[in-house]
């Protein structure tokens, strides 16, 4: 399916949802704060990722939508990148809003500032109804159009891991190590990256890089999340600089086992919590129950944003069924007292029956001599 068809279908579904809920006009907001854990509703419907603080797509039940945005100099890009024909400066939104009647739905309230919301309520003389589920529900299963972008992002994520294998070495600063991964992925077209790459002989957690100089024997942990077309794919891997002590290999094998069992538990129709239970069960069996809880660990994976972030967090109590077409990361990343924090994880696509990894780097601990 090509872009125009894809977005036409999305709009048809939205309009059907509006009719079902009796909504005459839908206001869809984005704050220019693209987020890897949250849906960007405007981007989902227009293929335009805004950068200014105010973007609202007005979708009337019958007429063509209008996109209002700041800064006005970005309108030309919006016209090129989206299918929306009518794009105007945000200041023009208010006169249109004052003329709206009937039931008004609002999507994106969670990212809206109170002053903007108050101004909308004042102008409408009533509060719009929160209609975010209308979009969240139609976006839960990724389409082939989205999967094409996700596959590209997955290949870039694997290339980021490969760059680390090739170029990591003692003497670099942590931030230079992170820049190696970033550079490889951007060179291949990644737009952004939720990326943390750090190194220590005993990592306590993932965090953005510091100026620490990487040493022989360090365990490099990475959570790498390139973005393509607004969609994210995450991969988590561990590299050791020099032959690791046996305990590192031994404990890393627990993560691999947890990953395998977590993947096996990710069956279509099963609740998201089953994946967390399988991973936690492996670690509990190995004697690390207390390390499966805060302040050490909690979440064993999660949905990834721009499109729907369903199924949410892979954690105890999340009964959301895993559906065909959902994509999310499964990561049994774990702090262990003997080794410190180690990382392993893949973004998966739910097929008709089970989870299939989208990233293909080896799960093995990568030892770089």
């Amino acid at each position: 399916m090509d872009g125009p068809q894809e977005y036409s279908q999305r709009m048809s579904k939205i309009r059907q949802g509006m009719r079902d809920q009796g909504i005459e006009t839908l206001l869809i907001f984005d704050s220019g704060r693209h987020n890897f854990l949250r849906m960007n509703y405007v981007a989902y419907l227009t293929d335009f990722i805004s950068i200014g603080p105010e973007t609202i797509l007005v979708v009337p039940a019958e007429n063509e939508p209008i996109l209002f945005l700041t800064p006005s100099w970005d309108i030309a890009r919006a016209k090129d990148e989206s299918w929306v024909a009518d794009i105007r400066p945000f200041k023009d939104f208010w006169s249109l809003l004052s003329k709206l009647s009937g039931k008004i739905g609002l999507v994106g309230r969670e990212a809206m500032h109170i002053r903007l919301h108050d101004e909308i309520v004042k102008t409408l003389k009533r509060a719009p109804v929160n209609a975010k589920d209308l979009i969240e529900n139609i976006a839960r299963r990724k389409t082939e159009f989205e999967l094409e972008r996700l596959r590209k992002a997955a290949a870039i994520a694997d290339a980021g891991v490969q760059a680390l294998h090739e170029d990591a070495r003692p003497g670099l600063k942590e931030y230079e190590l992170a820049a190696i991964v970033e550079h490889r992925m951007r060179s291949l077209g990644a737009e952004d990256n939720f990326g943390m790459v750090v190194a220590h002989h005993h990592n306590s957690a993932l965090h953005p890089p510091t100026a620490r100089v990487v040493e022989k024997g360090d365990i490099i942990i990475g959570e790498i999340t390139p973005c393509v077309g607004g969609l994210f794919v995450q991969i988590c891997r561990t590299v050791v600089l020099g032959q690791p002590p046996p305990v590192v290999e031994e404990k890393y094998a627990i993560l691999k086992r947890a990953m395998r069992l977590g993947m096996d538990a990710a069956k279509t129709g099963a609740p998201a919590s089953d994946v967390a239970a399988a991973i936690n069960g492996t670690l509990i069996e190995a004697g690390y129950e207390k390390y499966c809880r805060p302040p050490f660990m909690r979440v064993r994976g999660h949905g990834l944003g721009c499109g729907s972030s369903a199924p949410g967090n892979l954690e105890d109590g999340n009964e959301t069924p895993l559906e065909e077409g959902m994509t999310f990361i499964v990561h049994p990343n774990q702090y262990l007292p003997e080794t410190g924090y180690m990382t392993l994880g893949d973004t998966v696509l739910m097929t008709r029956s089970k989870a299939e990894p989208m990233t293909h780097s080896s799960w093995d601990l990568y030892v770089k001599d």
Partner: protein, 387 residues
């Protein structure tokens, strides 16, 4: 105003060097803010910041959120607390970036923030809310206010502005460091901007230059006909000319520059670029203590003539520091956005830092030049200049 595409995570070098910014600097800032709190009869402040807009939060605490947001609760007397939307295992790292001892984690900043306010004894008090970046997620703010029915809230978005307007010697050192880093990136960028290369490949190289030099964050806008953020759709080959807007954050402080790369032989475009440089230099000449901010805009209007309209769309300049755009503003629309005084009512003061830029089109091609300056008694000094 000029915006880049925000990073989903601030993933550059993340450190705090207490030798460069000692605790005493923050205590001095805190004293200034507390005097203003007393003047406004505020019992405490709740300051929101996130990875997109962290200036006020960072000004007092030195902490800047890497992802999501958080609040600082600042009593008129007593210890500060930070409540951050991070995992509890991330607290030790967060503490390496701030002098504040009490750092807490919660993914419910609204409700947990209300509990923190109560714990500090402010359940029935007058609290100032500082959210100049307009980032406090609405449901969380509503939750906090609901849980504190006896609090009298006042909007104090502009409270920090007078203190932040005039940079301290340590702040100026940090901004010069950011400026020098930026200048080096601009210089080295000339080696990687080559006709025939894909735009995203060049952006990757420029991004790497900044990250390898220890930048905390980077904003890049590029293009031949217009400025646009990195996008997977940006796969065109670069031709004989390319405009580049670049801002880097280093040790929390931003510096901004604009350049246009023109292939040898295109005299017309080179002349246009020289014109942009000259106009910025003339605008900068107005950056003197006591001068009205509006004078800078007046010069641009006079010098740019028919090109002024395009330049004004991108914004001709604004203050720069912990935020990419902050007071003083050159136009009133921008000033209103953060409740800053109007451009007409603002006079420049010594040690104010300002980014100036000129962007215009000639024969369908975009030309840009920009630089960051500090206002001194002896006139403007470029923050990117090595001298």
């Amino acid at each position: 105003m000029i915006f880049g595409r925000h990073s989903v995570l601030k993933r550059g070098c993340s450190t705090w060097d207490p030798k460069q910014f000692p605790r005493a600097e923050f205590e001095s800032r805190l004293d200034t803010v507390r005097k203003e709190m007393a003047h406004r009869d505020l019992d405490a402040l709740v300051i929101y910041g996130d990875n997109y807009s962290f200036a006020d939060l960072c000004y007092l605490t030195n902490y800047f959120p890497k992802v999501r947001g958080g609040i600082a609760v600042v009593p008129r007397d007593g210890a500060l607390s930070l409540l951050l939307n991070i995992g509890s295992r991330d607290v030790p790292f967060a503490k390496t970036l701030t002098w504040v001892d009490d750092v807490r984690a919660s993914n419910q900043v609204g409700s947990a923030g209300a509990e923190l306010v109560k714990e500090k004894g402010f359940a029935k008090s007058r609290l100032g809310l500082v959210d100049s970046g307009e980032g406090f997620p609405l449901p969380q703010l509503e939750e906090m206010k609901r849980a504190l029915p006896d609090v009298q809230w006042t909007n104090e978005d502009a409270l920090f502005e007078p203190a932040r307007l005039k940079k301290s010697p340590l702040e100026l050192n940090a901004m010069r460091a950011a400026g020098h880093l930026l200048n080096a990136v601009c210089e080295d960028a000339q080696k990687v901007i080559k006709p025939g290369r894909k735009e995203y490949e060049i952006v990757a190289d420029i991004d790497r230059l900044a990250r390898d030099a220890g930048a905390e964050d980077i904003r890049i806008l590029t293009g031949e006909k217009r400025l646009q953020p990195p996008s997977f759709k940006q796969s065109a080959d670069v031709g004989n000319h390319w405009a580049l807007y670049l801002a880097v954050q280093h040790e929390r402080y931003w510096a901004e520059a604009g350049r246009t790369y023109v292939a040898p032989g295109d005299g017309k475009l080179r002349a246009a670029y020289e014109k942009a440089r000259e106009v910025v230099a003339r605008m900068a000449a107005e950056l003197r203590p006591g001068n009205p901010v509006a004078a800078v805009d007046d010069i641009a209007r006079r010098e740019l003539g028919e090109f002024y309209a395009t330049a004004a769309v991108y914004g001709l300049g604004n203050g720069i520091g912990l935020n990419q755009w902050e007071a003083p503003f050159l136009n009133d629309d921008d000033a209103r956005r953060v409740s800053a005084p109007s451009a007409g009512a603002t006079e420049l003061t010594e040690n104010t830092t300002v980014a100036l830029r000129v962007v215009f089109e000639t024969e369908g091609k975009l030309v840009m030049f920009g630089d960051s300056f500090v206002v001194t008694q002896n006139g403007p000094v470029s923050l990117t200049s090595k001298t």
